[in-house]
Amino acid sequence: MTVEAAAAPGGGSAPSGRPDDGVIDDGVIDDGVAAAFRLRPGILVIAAAVMVAVLGLSVAVGPFRIPLTQILPAVADRLSLPGVHTTLTPQEQVILFQWRLPRAVLGGLVGCALALSGATYQGVFRNPLADPYLLGVAAGAGLGATIVIGGDLQAGWGPLDTVAAAAFVGALAGVVLAAALGRGAGSSPAALLLAGVAVASFLTAVQTYLVQRDSDGFREVYTWILGQLVTSGWGDVALLAPYVAVCGAVILALRRQLDVLRVGDAEAASLGLDPGRIRLVLIVAASLLAAAAVAVSGLISFVGIVVPHLVRLLVGSSNRVVLPLSALGGAAFLMLADLGARTLASPAEVPIGVITAFVGAPFFAFVLWTGRRAIA
């Protein structure tokens, strides 16, 4: 089965007679089909606007009351725009720029990384349910990070540090194991997912064992289960941003090739592409994204499956559309979820993983139900 099987009607219903101006030319697939595959700038602008609006909302809302009308001037002042002076107190500025804004941006980056990673796996494996969590990627990243933290092997140079590296190795091991096991079990999408479940369970068991051995640190495992974005300052943002930028650029640059692969490896090869290499690069990039997100925020589940599917329901199924919109949508989704985490029980916090799972699990069931013929 292919990605289209679970996709929304919008995927195939774009007007075919539409003029070609303002669309990204694919140059590979003929025009009749291409309209459905193209990313219209209007949609991109809308998605970006939604993301920016959610970012604004995240920054505006919190237990510390900062007047709405003061936020934009404060940002302008911060950027040293001429003629603008904020009336916020230094304390309010610290809240705004050292707590609320970095947390919102971190949430956006984590959401972007997880959603883009999920969308990439779904495209590469042609499986609508592929996701960093279901494939054992997150469990592998968690195990890698646990080994480094538990063994006191932490060291780092900017964004290159041992925790992120170990998380990446673990993530890659997870996805490679799941893919190998799944291939051995047959070609159905269910085989890959069941293999992923087995791999995730195994890696989680190893991680739990390691954590339990340290009687003082055994409670730490809950962190991974719940996930969190509690942060101060810009350190975590600086850590995650380079991974999102580089891997995101690689994945987005390959989005057309990924669409071509859907037609078949032979056709792709005849067009001069190397399907094996493209898949490898994409899997490595997606795993690195997921690993970096897990290293910073713990286990926040379902983002990688909810967001790409929402995008497919709304605008279409081609990777050229799904990948960039998932990146933006993932950022907006997780910022919204974190807003919920901060405000639902305010001034207490709700673990963000609880919120994403509360929204994501029913959605996952919905995807299973609508795509049941394709998956069975």
Partner: protein, 339 residues
């Protein structure tokens, strides 16, 4: 690892506080069972009544058999136990406090106080029936309700005292009395309770009267801002000392016990005192370095106190030490006036 940019801060995260929250929830549940005061017959002595009747001179040896009302129902102890296994660090401290230390044969891996306890690798959190039975105990003290272990030990004819996390100081007193009764030291237990009450009273009486509004405290469990509200045991100790607890805003009815706070709210609440434990490797300097926290009164006035994690998380005789540490850091009205 989120915090690895600051080398002095810890990698430990809120799972620990979650564990604490679970402990608290267990304590609340157990409190429902332990507060009942049954009629005191000749052979049936309730722990509460012993605690209040301080000096009914009765020699320890002829007190057995005793029947004790515990959190898990009545327990009969036929003879003075000589091979006690304690699977609760707090109960271990209490056993020594009531003078039953030399009757203790083995304790769990975390029961390291007082010095010289017979520490084994028995787990308090995941007790193993065979490992406990291998010690051939004649009394087992549990800190968590555990149906399998309790039923298993009952099947082996080994009496079990369940002493879950206290939710009030009264639970502490009745657990001390219960242990005294069970080990043949009722008088020493009554003395220990009296000493504890006196020690607490002394600290409370020595507290300066607040110059204006009640001082505010923030008790930090970890660097993701899990805290302890007045619904928790430790929160009640702060109440006793006349503190308002900023975590109560996140847990108005006290049902959560250990809510996770938001850093913004902590800055805004502006506590007069911040209490952290030594369970993590960060200290007052790391707290002062958090963005915006230098505006918090407790940080500005240098009132960030580090307390021993065991003292702050157990409900035994050492609560006095905790209260003393907090009291010592409390601003005096004269000091406050100078600020």
């Amino acid at each position: 690892m989120r915090s690895r940019h600051t080398p002095s801060s810890s990698s430990r995260r809120p799972g620990r506080a979650l564990g604490a929250a679970l402990l608290g929830a267990l304590g609340l549940l157990a409190a429902c069972g332990s507060g009942t005061d049954s009629g005191t017959g000749d052979s049936l002595a309730s722990a509460d009544s012993i605690a209040s009747v301080a000096s009914t001179a009765e020699t320890a040896a002829d007190a057995f058999p005793v029947e004790i009302d515990t959190a898990a129902g009545p327990v009969t102890i036929e003879a003075r136990p000589e091979a006690i296994v304690s699977l609760s660090p707090t109960a271990t401290e209490m056993l020594w406090a009531v003078g039953a230390g030399d009757q203790v044969k083995a304790v769990d891996s975390l029961s390291t106080y007082p010095a010289g306890t017979p520490v084994t690798d028995l787990s308090a959190f995941e007790p193993n029936l065979e490992a406990i039975a291998a010690q051939q105990p004649d009394l087992v003290v549990l800190g968590f309700a555990n149906d399998e272990i309790q039923a298993g030990l009952a099947g082996l004819g080994i009496p079990v005292l369940l002493q879950p996390a206290a939710s009030t100081l009264d639970d502490t007193y009745s657990q001390l009395a219960e242990l005294g009764l069970a080990t043949g030291h009722p008088d020493e237990a009554a003395d220990a309770v009296a000493d504890l009450r006196a020690g607490i009273d002394e600290v409370v009486k020595g507290m300066p009267a607040p110059a204006g509004a009640r001082p505010k405290v923030y008790h930090e469990l970890d660097d993701t801002f899990y805290s302890a509200s007045s619904g928790s045991f430790i929160g009640q100790l702060y109440q006793l000392l006349g503190y308002d607890n900023i975590a109560d805003a996140a847990d108005p009815d006290g049902s959560v016990g250990y809510p996770q706070l938001n850093a913004e709210q902590i800055i805004q609440a502006n506590p007069d005192l911040i209490v952290i434990t030594d369970a993590y490797s960060y200290g007052p300097a790391d707290i002062a370095a958090r963005p915006g926290w230098n505006t918090i009164k407790a940080v500005a006035d240098d009132r960030v106190v580090v307390v021993n994690d065991d003292v702050a998380s157990r409900w035994g005789p050492r609560v006095v030490e905790f209260l003393q540490a907090v009291a010592a850091a409390t601003p005096t009205p004269a000091g406050a006036a100078q600020q």
